[in-house]
């Protein structure tokens, strides 16, 4: 058993006193900063990165990984408690997680999120250890056109998330794709839709847009219709724990979410983000009560949270085996490695096995620490809910403002955020759901790149989309999904028309 030997190297590295301490410290600080509303994992990592740079490379990366998991968990906690997703992957957590919190099941939601994430993290770590080489070979099988089709599937699944009309969700996706094209066109160097604003050359910051639409949009909506207030809830010890029923209902979603997240996380280009969307869509589709999703279904929380964590874990694979960062947070990790003089890529595993395996084992240890750290603290996090909204919303605005400002140290992102806050307010009033918009905005630039490459390789023949088996399968899947989503509304509309 080769990988047992490799893992033992990893354990030897991780279990040293120094590394263990920094791993714990990373998890703790990551959770503390990540839990501040408005600060997602990327912002948290960016803020805390400088602290780790003084450490020795392995220790520093282990601490950074700890911060990453801590920030992710902290981010989920705020998503559930105050309906503010700090990162795109927790956009889905909000849907049912926050509704559970409103029903007084906040403790149960946090416990299930923690346990689901731990299960997913454990499994994904094993997969990385056993399958890193094979998985990167599988990812190499994907051509540009296959990636493009994969993202089409991802976008269609995000439409499944929207509770309202399918058409509006599709429009929101396209709108997101359009906003994603703003900035310098990489291939030609032409400035697209920048209107002479130099800050727009790099495109619109996804984080600023997300904070505006979700954070500010939500604040405005809550102030406009304060009816459904987040009244202080009685938090007895019992209400902190999931009921047996909730446990039972979470088991399968956790397993499915873990599997999906593990697979999708490996694919460079937003795989980890897709995984939580996909896991939610799957649960909704196979559920006997899809109409209850969005009202606090425990399945709708357990699956995406597990997928999210599994994906976060396996998204290290493309970084460690191909040198490809798959999301902004992993890109920060890559940046830290470069500063430490480590070139992320296939050579790390051979040249620095201690670092590679130490990092992998520390992922698991970090996840374990998170559970131990957070389960007792859940009661404390819930107290956040009993803070009256009157005091909470100025605090959230403060954190949003500082968080966005620190991203690039300029006021421009703050202005972007407030513009998107207004857009979010208008769209909410028109019953358009913002989650598909964000996914479109993230995937847009990547999709365009892959589409161009695919067309260049095929000599401008669009048939290549259905000639490659992987791509054809994915597109067929997207088509089937779309039909499934459209069917109920078509049927309903026919009834409506007949009634007239």
């Amino acid at each position: 058993m080769d990988f047992l030997h490799d893992l033992s190297i990893g354990f030897a590295v991780t279990l040293s006193f120094t590394n263990l301490t920094y791993c714990l410290l990373g998890c703790l600080v990551g959770t503390l900063v990540g839990i501040l509303p408005g600060l997602g994992p990327s912002a948290t990592m960016a803020i805390l990165l400088p602290i780790t740079l003084t450490l020795e490379p392995t220790t520093s990366l282990i601490m950074l990984a700890g911060i990453y998991y801590g920030a992710q968990y902290g981010g989920s906690t705020t998503a559930i408690l105050v309906n503010l997703p700090g990162e795109t992957s927790s956009v889905v957590t909000v849907l049912d997680g926050h509704q559970m919190a409103r029903k007084g099941r906040a403790g149960a939601a946090l416990t299930i999120a923690a346990l689901g994430s731990f299960v997913a993290g454990t499994f994904a770590t094993l997969v990385i250890a056993v399958g890193s080489p094979a998985l990167s070979a599988f990812a190499m099988q994907f051509h540009a056109v296959d990636y493009f089709s994969l993202m089409v599937v991802g976008l269609i699944t995000s439409a499944a998330l929207a509770n309202g009309s399918l058409l509006k969700a599709l429009a929101m996706i396209v709108l997101g794709l359009i906003v994603g094209t703003i900035g310098v066109d990489i291939t030609s160097g032409v400035y697209r839709m920048t209107f002479g604003v130099p800050e727009l050359l790099d495109g619109i910051s996804v984080i600023a847009a997300a904070m505006g639409i979700f954070g500010l949009g939500e604040i405005i909506e809550n102030l406009v219709s304060p009816g459904e207030s987040r009244a202080a809830q009685k938090t007895t010890f019992r209400s902190l724990l999931p009921t047996r029923e909730e446990f039972r209902r979470s088991i399968m979603p956790v397993i499915r979410g873990t599997a999906l997240g593990t697979i999708l996380g490996v694919l460079p280009g937003g795989g980890a983000t897709l995984s939580s969307f996909a896991a939610y869509a799957v649960e909704k589709r196979i559920s006997k009560h899809p109409e209850r999703f969005g009202t606090g279904e425990v399945e709708g929380l357990a699956a995406p949270e597990s997928a999210n964590n599994a994906g976060a874990q396996t998204s290290f694979i493309p970084l460690l085996t191909l040198g490809l960062p798959s999301n902004p947070t992993i890109a920060l990790m890559a940046g830290a490695m470069l500063i430490q003089g480590i070139q992320p890529g296939p050579n790390v595993i051979n040249e620095q096995p201690e670092l590679f395996w130490g990092l992998i084992v520390s992922m698991w240890v970090g996840n374990l620490m998170l559970v131990i750290l957070n389960l007792p603290l859940i009661g404390l996090w819930i107290k956040l809910l009993s803070v009256p909204y009157k005091y909470l919303f100025p605090a959230i605005m403060t954190f949003c403002a500082i968080g966005v400002f620190t991203l690039s140290n300029s006021s421009f992102d703050v202005y972007l955020m407030l513009i998107f806050g207004f857009v979010g307010f208008v769209l909410r009033r028109l019953s358009c759901e913002p989650a598909p918009f964000l996914l479109g905005m993230i995937l847009g630039p990547i999709m365009e790149e892959y589409l161009r490459r695919a067309m260049l390789l095929s000599g401008g023949d669009p048939l290549v989309l259905i000639q490659r088996p992987i791509s054809a399968t994915l597109l067929a899947l997207a088509a089937v999904l779309l039909v499934f989503l459209a069917l109920p509304s078509i049927r309903k509309k026919r009834e409506e028309v007949f009634q007239e």
């Binding site: 396209v174 403060t398 703050v414 023949d461 007239e500």
Partner: protein, 155 residues
């Protein structure tokens, strides 16, 4: 039978999407479209603009048929709240460089608390002070973020 607008929110959303779609397609058509093999910078945006316009037309059509659904209205009060909150954020952006973090947060919080009716001024001042000092401590002192506490204006 008189055709009335059944779903005003669908209609308005559709009109909005249509306007954006047409504008995007038109604006980007000035960039080179290129060929399918070598796509120019305008290719995808124009395509997406047309796609959005198409979907928007369907949404508008659907707003005209079917059962009547009520829309969450844009009342004067809702607009007042939206603008007050956003003005607070704008003030933060404008003040953070010249006046520093403390002043920016004080002004932002005081502005945005006025969005909520019945927020007494004493509570507002207290909240603003606590948030300004607290975030200065956490972000600048503890986390060492390079944010000016007091800007040039204040010496």
């Amino acid at each position: 039978m008189q055709r009335k607008i059944k779903k005003p929110h669908d209609l308005w959303a559709g009109v909005l999407f249509l306007a954006v779609g047409v504008a995007v397609a038109w604006y980007n058509s000035y960039y080179s479209l290129g060929t399918l093999r070598r796509m120019g910078p305008g290719f995808l945006p124009v395509l997406l603009g047309i796609l959005l316009s198409g979907i928007a037309l369907l949404i508008i059509l659907r707003g005209l048929v079917g059962q009547v659904e009520k829309m969450k209205p844009f009342t004067y009060e809702s607009l007042r709240i939206a603008f007050t909150v956003l003005m607070g954020m704008l003030a933060f952006g404008l003040l953070i460089r010249p006046a520093g973090l403390i002043v920016a947060i004080l002004v932002m919080v005081l502005l945005c608390t006025s969005a909520m009716r019945g927020y007494g001024w004493r509570a507002a001042c207290l909240t603003a002070a606590v948030l300004a000092v607290g975030s200065a401590l956490v972000f600048v002192v503890l986390l060492g973020q390079p944010i000016p506490l007091f800007g040039k204006l204040l010496g």
